[in-house]
């Protein structure tokens, strides 16, 4: 039986269709979850996809965290359910307090849309358990506010607890410690700026997103 994956849609999300396609490709059974419904519909995993939820008004993710679905996502995460936030979804998860830190504007004030080399730093997370530690993945980034930051204490904790999931080989946006993705203490909530759903076919230039998406399905 394939696992059901809920893909959250806010007004302004724009990566949900790509994610549905990508999840079908790796054998999942994806469905959309509307932000206004306070339920995750008993799915097996939740993805908060990229885009501009609520227009990114005030700050990216600042308003999305008040959407009714987010309390259901928080409950699901607290019960150990796998939750992955990609790009704007990562911003939403930090604003919602499900992941530490924040995403500030890229150093250099450039919107960066380019392939990025990412190193898998740990396989102890719901997004990397089927990947190889140390593997370098070619997955695109597409963001203006992807410059990960946190206080020194949080950074030390992330390092000590092996919670930096992915690092950029070449830092594209000023992120502290080259961080591209982190996980929570339970390792079931992961946020990352790069878009694995856009690296699922040679036609797109890379299939390196597949091991990450498969990880989510390998419960």
């Amino acid at each position: 039986m394939s696992l059901r994956v809920g893909v959250v849609v806010f007004p302004g999300s724009n990566c949900e269709q790509d994610m549905l396609e990508a999840m079908r490709l790796v054998g999942g059974e994806p469905e959309l979850l509307w932000h206004g419904d306070a339920t995750v519909n008993a799915v097996d995993a939740v993805i908060v996809p990229g885009g501009f939820a609520h227009g990114d008004y005030l700050r990216p993710g600042a308003i999305a965290r008040f959407s009714p679905v987010m309390s259901a996502v928080a409950e699901f995460a607290a019960a150990g359910g796998p939750v992955v936030g990609i790009c704007n979804g990562f911003q939403v998860l930090t604003e919602a307090g499900l992941l530490p830190g924040a995403l500030q504007k890229n150093a250099g004030l450039k919107f960066v849309c380019a392939p990025a080399q990412l190193r898998v730093e740990t396989t102890n997370s719901v997004l990397t358990r089927s990947a190889d530690k140390g593997a370098v993945l070619n997955i695109p980034i597409n963001h203006f506010e992807g410059n990960y930051t946190c206080d020194a204490e949080t950074l030390a904790q992330l390092r000590d607890e092996d919670r930096v999931v992915l690092r950029y080989v070449v830092n594209p946006n000023g992120s502290v410690d080259d961080i591209a993705g982190v996980c929570n203490e339970g390792r079931n909530v992961v946020g990352l700026m790069p878009h694995p759903e856009r690296s699922t076919s040679e036609l797109l230039g890379s299939t390196d997103g597949l091991p990450l998406l498969r990880s989510l399905l390998s419960l």
Partner: protein, 87 residues
């Protein structure tokens, strides 16, 4: 009692402000050579109905820390006065 509130949201010291530095770098081309320390923030205005100034300030500050700012990267200055006072 109605209070007019003005919140200035600022990036915390030490948080990179690429927008501010880009503006600063553009200034000499316009002939403004002595300007430095440019920081870009947000200005938010609203009204609060509260029993007194202390209650209004406490509500505004709560609103700032829980919604209007992201405390990881931003802080806020709250100014308030009884509504209707010319400012």
């Amino acid at each position: 009692m109605i209070f007019s509130v003005h919140v200035e949201v600022r990036l915390r010291p030490g948080i990179a402000d690429p927008q501010g530095s880009t503006i600063e770098r553009a200034m000499p081309t316009l002939g403004f050579s002595g300007v430095s320390g440019v920081r870009v923030g947000k200005s938010i205005r609203f009204e609060i109905d509260a029993a007194d100034e202390t209650a209004a300030r406490s509500e505004a500050e709560d609103l700032c820390s829980r919604f209007l700012t992201n405390p990881v990267i931003e802080d806020a200055i709250v100014e308030l006065e009884p509504a209707g006072v010319a400012s």
